[in-house]
């Protein structure tokens, strides 16, 4: 496939936005300015960017505990995201959801999810609705390697195939579930080996290569829109920081060497090198992009910091549309 310079820039920008947002969130967390758990997406940007660049605003995605990257890639508002992470009333969830439930239904982002694997059945529901309405929308379920061991993933994958729904299962295989290496929790090496058990095509892509992810997604999304049913994409990727927060706590469960080897394949820098090499872009252009988004992130932090906290009376608001509260 031939990915145009525009799309290459698009992929790059999405990744830069994620990277800067996540780095900022990490710094704020270390400064104890973000309450709760924080699962950073740094290192895996090519997956969210490559997938979401193949989607329209009215396509749906479901996400994971590691969900900021997905929302940024789907076009999320950085101000409202940062405000949510700080628990402010201007946040996406008015401070009620936080990092693990960040969402934007107007962008088809059906929420980060604190329950591993729980997003996939919801994506099946969105895909069902999309086919029901016959407007050509698709749904994408993001999930980790570890999530493929849980029942909800299995049921979702099978149901999607049985009902032949327009859905893409996008696995971010970063080789760990929390602090436990993947090979201790499954006897297979490639998640894609599970696809045949549901009767859908599966493909492995380099999850550090946004273009590769994007191409695979274009194909899968096209198949879905054309009534060709579900697909599984396994993106081999890596998270640069800890399972949650930034630093490893306690036990060293990954070797320095392993981390360093993956960092060499940084998805943003490798794309930049490639684009420069192919004369698609100049260093200066990239510098400008980084600078622009750095400023946007600074504004987001300022917006979030200046935003008010939710007031106590909000606790009982939005449990129900009507008829709740006691």
């Amino acid at each position: 496939m031939n990915i145009s310079p525009e799309v290459q820039f698009d992929l790059h920008r999405r990744m830069v936005r994620i990277r800067l947002f996540e780095e900022a969130a990490g710094r704020l967390a270390e400064a104890a300015k973000l309450p709760g758990f924080l699962h950073l997406y740094v290192g895996e940007e090519a997956v969210a960017a490559g997938v979401c660049a193949a989607l329209n605003d009215d396509d749906h995605i479901t996400s994971t505990h590691r969900g900021h990257g997905h929302l940024v890639a789907k076009g999320g508002d950085l101000n409202r995201m940062m405000a949510e992470l700080m628990g402010k009333s201007t946040g996406y969830c008015k401070g009620k959801g936080g990092s693990m439930h960040i969402s934007d239904l107007s962008l088809g982002m059906l929420g980060a999810n604190g329950i591993v694997g729980a997003g996939s059945p919801i994506a099946v529901g969105a895909a069902f609705a999309n086919r029901y309405r016959k407007k050509g929308q698709v749904a994408v379920a993001f999930f980790g390697d570890g999530a493929t061991n849980i029942g909800a993933f299995h049921e979702a994958a099978n149901m999607a195939c049985a009902l032949h729904l327009p859905i893409v299962f996008a696995c971010e295989n970063n080789e760990y579930g929390e602090f436990t290496p993947r090979d201790q929790t499954m006897a297979i090496t490639d998640i894609v080996d599970r696809a045949a058990g549901y009767g859908m095509p599966g493909v492995i892509v380099d999850g550090m290569d946004a273009i590769a992810v994007h191409e695979a997604t274009l194909e899968a999304v096209e198949r879905a829109r054309a009534g060709g049913g579900p697909s599984l994409i396994e993106a081999k990727t890596y998270r640069f920081y800890n399972h949650h927060g930034v630093q490893n706590l306690g036990l060293k469960y990954r070797s320095d060497d392993e981390v360093a080897r993956w960092k060499e394949r940084d998805p943003i820098f490798t794309l930049e090198d490639r684009m420069i090499e192919n004369k698609v872009a100049t260093r200066q252009q990239f510098d400008d992009i980084w600078a622009d988004w750095r400023a946007a992130i600074d504004r987001a932090i300022q917006f979030a910091e200046e935003s008010p906290l939710p007031t106590p009376d909000q606790v009982l608001v939005d449990v129900y549309t009507t008829g709740g509260a006691r």
Binding site: H60, T62, G91, Y92, C93, K94, G95, K96, G97, H101, S103, D104, L105, G108, L110, G111, N113, G114, I115, A118, S120, P121, I122, A123, V124, G125, A126, A127, F128, A129, N130, Y132, R133, A139, G151, A152, E155, A156, N158, M159, A162, L163, V317, D318, V319, Y320, T321, T322, G323, G324, R326
Partner: protein
């Protein structure tokens, strides 16, 4: 005429679904064996023939994905009815019900509506044993974000099911298996009963019985016996268990000064505990006896009819409970 029309409880459910599907193309149903077969209890009978396989969907045996299908479709604009064959199976799908459906709107800061109806069949009396006979409604009522409905008559079934489908929040509609064949007056035209409104099944001055589901009928039987002895029971059927129409219950308690709460669920930690706790809070000075509670003993549901008939609360037990409340002697404080 419509006033004359009688319908079985199961067909009242079916008619509500059918009329709702006619009125709103966004309503669809999904579940195991509900399509060609019409559901193992016949609840969805004939609907696939009428509305097609796109709108009445047979699913794999995948309770988590069935509820997830409903959550995702509801969040993206449809109005799903998803069926979990037996109430015991809510345990299989509990994460999607409790952690997803119930909380989605709140977690998203209100930016979602989830017009999802989960239907299921509860209760014992069919010798279906410990995994096919449970009454787990108290669990659902403890979860903010869910509404829980439990009709006791064909009339209420149609009106409440219609209300569930029209409701913008996730509801769980529990059918009682032993009531499926019960016949009663059901208007032909669509109607809905507002969620959260109790029904005074029988007025009475002496004692209030709060009961729902099949226990309403056991209570009526007990009340008839008691009436022969001059004890007049007021029977209140909350119909909606969450939100609960506490006002109607408390007003009755203040009038009769004696209350018995009855359910088929295990007594310990059942909804009766909440109702009793609320009554003694709101009508403390009016009570002439402790709020009594009748529920199943603290064991799984036994298989053998010889055991199950003693396990499920009976009208005799209700009668005894009322008599105890009526003739209670004050012990020294």
């Amino acid at each position: 005429m419509s006033e004359e029309r009688k319908l079985a409880y199961v067909m009242a459910f079916n008619e509500a679904v059918s009329q709702a599907m006619e009125a709103d193309p966004d309503v669809f149903c999904a579940g195991e064996d509900i399509g060609a077969f019409g559901g193992v209890f016949g609840t969805f009978g004939g609907l696939q023939a009428k509305f097609g396989t796109d709108r009445v969907v047979d699913t794999p045996i995948s309770e988590q994905a069935i509820v997830g299908l409903g959550v995702g479709a509801a969040a993206t604009g449809l109005r799903p009815i998803v069926d979990l064959m037996f109430m015991d199976f809510i345990c299989v799908a509990m994460d999607q019900i409790v952690n997803q459906a119930a909380k989605l709107k709140y977690m998203f800061g209100g930016e979602a509506t989830l017009p999802l109806t989960i239907t299921t069949a509860g209760g014992g009396g069919l010798s279906a044993a410990a995994q096919h006979s449970q009454s787990l409604e108290a669990i659902l009522c403890h979860i903010p974000g869910l509404k829980v409905v439990y009709p006791s008559t064909p009339y209420d079934m149609k009106g409440l099911m219609m209300a569930c489908i029209q409701e913008d929040n996730p509801t769980v509609m529990v059918k009682h298996k032993r009531l499926l064949g019960m016949s009663g007056h059901v208007p032909v035209e669509p109607y809905s009963i507002p969620l959260g409104t109790a029904n005074v099944v029988r007025p009475g001055r002496d004692v209030t019985i709060v009961a729902y589901g099949r226990m309403v009928h056991e209570s009526v039987a007990a009340a008839e016996k008691l009436a022969a002895d001059g004890i007049e029971c007021e029977i209140i059927d909350p119909r909606t268990l969450q939100p609960l129409d506490t006002d109607t219950i408390v007003a009755s308690a203040r009038r009769t000064n004696r209350v018995l709460v009855v359910h088929e669920a295990v007594r310990f930690g059942g909804l009766g505990a909440e109702i009793a706790a609320q009554i003694q809070e709101a009508a403390f000075d009016h009570l002439d006896a402790p709020v009594g509670r009748i529920g199943a003993p603290f064991s799984p549901v036994p298989f053998s009819p010889a055991l199950e008939q003693h396990y499920i609360p009976s009208s005799a037990a209700i009668e005894a409970g009322v008599r105890e409340a009526m003739f209670r002697n004050k012990v020294g404080a």
